[in-house]
């Protein structure tokens, strides 16, 4: 198994501790792709960064992250740094300043390579190959990020992520702020890479449609918890959690920044992450809320073949009910 995450929690130390991620578990194998969906503040990025312990020192990580059998949460920092990029790299939002503006693209990729292989030879050729493999001319080696378009920057980011031939790629909102056509190209590129090299990939997005297209399985996060998990097609078609349903129903226009904030047709705000409340965290906004939702112990229950959901309704009712209700209401 490439990656086993078990009961991962992230808490920010403060006067009132902020529980950004609460008990997330999943596994991922090489060649597999996992999509993580959720609105802003749902803890999806925090969860992803927690895997490589990239969070600020105020964040406390609990639970277990086993990468290729190695426990990362307790690994020494030196070991941790060795795993980063070499074992697992991250594709950040290249269009949004994830590249250093005063270094050339080539320099930044080279840095990643040299960091993990001091004696590396023929680096320049390798970088040029990488650039070409993501569809950029080799002469872009000398370019500064601001000389590239958003899509090109994202490609550089991907090339950089591949530079050390990692086994896992975490793509954090790789297509946000790109226009539709470029977004499609980038997604296609990512998908291709995973298929060809057998790399495992976790892709994070607020955009369910993007994930559905690229990833085999999907996890939906709300308030730091995974509320639904399953094969992506089925999950989008038949949500077993009202939140997923809202996300799926919204199917936001691609590239519409407003859609990042809250799924369409869903009132209210996500709960304050510093509160620990009993019951379902989605209850205050849930269109199909039941009395027991605010008090019952909520778990990720099995909800069909390879599917799990954290909605009380999957326990008793038919799977369709939750989704059906939402569809009715929104229709």
């Amino acid at each position: 198994m490439l990656l086993e995450v078990n009961d991962l929690s992230v808490t920010y130390a403060a006067a009132r501790p902020v529980h950004a991620v609460r008990g997330v578990s999943f596994t991922l194998d090489g060649g597999q792709t996992l999509g993580v969906a959720g609105e802003s503040g749902s803890g999806k990025t925090t969860m992803a960064l927690a895997l490589l312990r990239l969070l600020p020192s105020a964040a406390r990580i609990e639970g277990s992250v086993r990468f290729q059998g190695e426990e990362l949460t307790t690994a020494k920092w030196g070991r941790m740094r060795a795993v980063r990029w070499d074992g697992a790299s991250v594709v950040f939002q290249g269009a949004m300043g994830a590249l250093n503006p005063v270094r050339t693209v080539g320099w930044q990729i080279r840095e990643a390579i040299v960091q993990h292989d001091r004696g590396a030879k023929g680096i320049r050729g390798r970088i040029e190959e990488l650039l070409e493999s993501v569809g950029l001319p080799a002469r872009r080696y000398e370019a500064y990020p601001h000389e590239l378009s958003g899509g090109q920057r994202q490609r550089v980011m991907i090339a950089m992520a591949l530079a050390c031939r990692p086994d896992l790629i975490i793509a954090d909102e790789p297509t946000t702020a790109l226009d539709v056509i470029v977004q499609g190209q980038v997604l296609a590129l990512l998908g291709e890479l995973v298929r060809e090299s057998g790399i495992g990939m976790i892709m994070i997005s607020h955009d369910l449609s993007v994930l559905a297209e690229t990833c085999a399985s999907l996890a939906v996060m709300y308030a730091g918890e995974v509320v639904e998990h399953g094969p992506s097609r089925e999950l989008v078609r038949e949500p077993r959690h009202p939140y997923t349903a809202a996300l799926a129903a919204a199917f936001p226009k691609i590239g519409d920044p407003a859609s990042r904030l809250a799924p369409a047709g869903l009132g209210g705000d996500p709960p304050d992450a510093s509160l620990v409340l009993p019951g379902c965290p989605f209850a205050p906004r849930c269109p199909v809320v039941m009395d027991e939702c605010t008090s019952a112990e909520i778990e990720l229950w099995n909800a069909g073949l390879e599917r799990r959901s954290a909605c009380l309704r999957v326990l008793g009712d038919a799977p369709e009910t939750a989704a059906g209700t939402v569809t009715e209401r929104s229709g």
């Binding site: 209210g268 705000d269 709960p271 304050d272 510093s274 509160l275 409340l277 009993p278 019951g279 209850a283 205050p284 009395d291 605010t294 008090s295």
Partner: protein, 298 residues
């Protein structure tokens, strides 16, 4: 467990007056700064109560000349036998007064020019900004020296020299803020309703830049007090007046350094340091409270 949905804490968007105060009180720097200012202000205002004119009149005092601190003279005496402690207390008055008046002048000049430059973005604004930039670039002390030399020695010329050399940065800040305020929709509305330029500047923009003026003023006072001391030290002040700058000037000219008379050299400088620190700390604290962006970033 009650069934009612838990109240969701909303992020307070604009801190209210009381929460600003509370925020101020939470900052140790702010508390120290304000405490310093209160004490110094009390000393300056109350000085006439405990410093009598005969304490400052060299022909009336009869202390030992240039003597190290003793019980009767806790900070020693100066060349004429006056108590350094009383001089120090009295010296706070011109030092603060010049600092504050110079700051007031600076603020008026800077605000007017900043507002005009921000509001009239055409040739007028650009011209004003050019002048402002020119003043920012000029080395201020040589300019202040030149101005004081032209206007003759004394407090008035020092005050004017400080204002002339400090207004430009205020004007620049104010212009930026004016531009930001004028970009807001309510100005559009006011314009549509037929408000005149003056009305927009005075009624709409000015109230919105007051916090910035406040912050800038607090920090400018700190600078002005330093400048006043420097110019006085260079001999451009009124040498017969008792201010911290002139005390240092006199001690330096008198050769107190060689005589090792630290008591005439250390206290006035420390007083300047403490007051300037008080204004800076307060200014920074007010800045943080009024401008949360800075609080996050700094």
């Amino acid at each position: 467990m009650s069934a009612t949905s838990a109240p969701l804490a909303h992020v307070t968007s604009v801190p209210g007056r009381s929460s600003r105060l509370r925020a101020l009180v939470r900052m140790p720097g702010a508390v120290a700064g304000i405490a310093i200012l209160v004490i110094v202000a009390a000393v300056a205002i109350g000085a006439p109560l405990f410093v009598h004119s005969y304490d400052l009149d060299v022909t009336k005092v009869n202390g030992p000349l240039l003597h190290a601190p003793t019980g009767a003279y806790p900070l020693g005496t100066d060349q004429s036998g006056r108590s350094e402690l009383l001089l120090l207390a009295w010296g706070s008055r011109p030092s603060l007064l010049i600092g504050i008046i110079a700051t007031a002048l600076t603020m008026v000049l800077g605000t007017v020019i900043g507002l005009l430059a921000g509001h009239y973005q055409g040739i007028v604004g650009r011209l004003l900004m050019t002048v402002t930039d020119w003043f920012i670039v000029l080395p201020s002390l040589p300019l202040a020296i030149a101005l004081s030399a032209v206007m003759g020695e004394g407090d008035t010329s020092i005050t004017i020299a400080i204002a002339v050399t400090s207004w430009a940065s205020t004007a620049r800040l104010l212009r930026a803020q004016t531009l930001a305020v004028e970009a807001r929709p309510f100005i559009e509305r006011a314009k549509a309703l037929g408000a005149s330029n003056t009305q927009i500047m005075v009624r709409q923009v000015l109230p919105n830049v007051v916090p910035l003026i406040l912050v800038s003023a607090t920090l400018t006072v700190a600078g002005a007090i330093l400048d006043q001391a420097t110019l006085t030290f260079l001999g451009l002040g009124n040498p017969t007046e008792v201010s911290w700058g002139s005390m240092l000037n006199t001690a330096f000219a008198n050769g107190d350094i060689t005589a090792g008379a630290w008591w005439t050299l250390v206290p006035p400088g420390l007083a300047i340091l403490v007051v300037v620190l008080g204004f800076s700390l307060t200014g920074r604290a007010v800045e943080r409270v009024l401008n949360p962006r800075l609080a996050v970033e700094r």
